[in-house]
Symmetry: C2
Subunit: 233 residues, 2 copies
DNA sequence: ATCGTCCCTGAATTGTTGTTCATTTCTTAA
DNA sequence: TTAAGAAATGAACAACAATTCAGGGACGAT
């Protein structure tokens, strides 16, 4: 054989793969999941449409991997915030506010990943994504309940409900229209976090304290990317 | 002119229109919104595909009308249940449990109307549907707050969150898998209703009482159609 | 009965996207 | 420099579903 993949080529191939995923992510963030089509993504990555198929077997695989990536990043973020909290209840509060702020920071992306009309072949990826975040919340609720900070409950159901509440109120089509204003935004996050904690059984006064503690005083890095940075080739 | 639409013809036309909507509804209930395509619906209504276009200008219009119909019925149902309650808080509890039970009674339909991947031209109808139900809950929350039964709050946000919680936990892809068992089902509804009431600020003990009162002791007519009966031609 | 009008039919058309593949362009080792 | 193999290209293809329309049938008035 007179040809072998050299290191440089492999690097270039890997970079191109990342570029495709990045192009897909940018497209989704700007125009929604429906706009993530092979031709536009390829154009954005500055390659031909056919080339995409040298890196991903199908569009569904591409989108699935995109969703998995974003989901993993979000989960890491939530875990990190929760683990840094002093106790189980604070951890739950931190997890809730982190989910809320992440969702608000990338509303279109979050909407695309969670709920936007999408190809049937990616439902699995989306489902895994939801399952993962619900499982995280569920374990936090269960931990707090074990510690005696919450009444006993079916954490699987309440965790799912909690996630649904956050998403519906923040990224759904009926979310308030004034998320640009940081003050309003902060208020919304607080309202929802308070509601979530009350919902799982935290007494009102204590919930208020936890929320005040958990929501960052300002939300500075909203315009940047708390959830994940699109990587450019 | 040698032809005029007689009464009988107009009745037949109207019946056929209803048959198309009914066929669409049945299809959606059985196989999801994605399966609501012109050809299958027409076949079910026992007419040719082209005939559908004599009654509806487009598939989007057909589905929009279907969603509006179902939404209106659901809203009526919820209003009725809430209005029959003795007070504002009971009304809220009744509204919540009614929504939950309706959703469970027609999970596939509810999922299709609320969240399933769907054509972009029907987002308006779906949005109106959500807005309507959220507005209803919002007004109930506001009424209860005005009466001093709930702490002051941004009812718009909490209402949206509440709806999201119910839907995510009951009709979403992560809903528990044992909805066949009426006991489990009842338990799930109670759990969620309790959580919802706590979330908007009802004290735990009182919330429990309201929930027990609001959830019908049995859920007998689940297999029939609490939400709306598909009309056959 | 029959004519004018409307209604129904369903095969063909249209439009949109994901996917393929023959060809071209690059890359490597001899 | 060159030949073998890999990667990239992008126009053509395929699949699917909404929509159209020319022709046939049904209906109402005369």
């Amino acid at each position: 054989m007179v040809y072998r993949r050299t290191q440089q080529v492999m690097r270039r191939l890997a970079a191109r793969r990342r570029a495709i995923l990045a192009a897909a992510r940018e497209t989704a963030a700007e125009q929604g999941m429906a706009a993530v089509q092979i031709a536009p993504v390829a154009a954005r990555a500055e390659i031909a449409a056919g080339t995409v198929y040298r890196y991903f077997p199908s569009k569904a695989e591409l989108i699935s991997e995109l969703i998995s990536d974003i989901s993993r990043e979000q989960l890491d973020h939530v875990r990190q915030a929760a683990d840094a909290a002093p106790g189980p209840l604070s951890a739950l509060a931190a997890a809730v506010t982190t989910i809320a702020i992440d969702a608000l920071s990338h509303r279109k992306l979050a909407w695309g990943i969670l709920a936007e009309p999408i190809d049937v072949d990616v439902v699995t990826a989306r489902l895994d994504c939801r399952k993962a975040i619900v499982a995280e919340i569920e374990s936090r609720i269960a931990a707090a309940a074990r510690a005696g900070h919450l009444p006993p409950q079916d954490a699987g159901i309440t965790a799912a409900a909690l996630i649904g509440a956050l998403h519906e109120a923040l990224v759904g089509p009926l979310a308030p229209d004034n998320l640009d204003d940081p003050a309003k935004l902060r208020e919304a996050v607080q309202t929802l976090a308070l509601m979530a904690l009350r919902g799982v059984g935290v007494m009102d006064a204590r919930a208020r304290g936890l929320v005040v503690q958990a929501v960052p005083p300002i939300v500075p890095e909203l315009t940047p990317q708390p959830m994940a940075a699109p990587v450019s080739a």
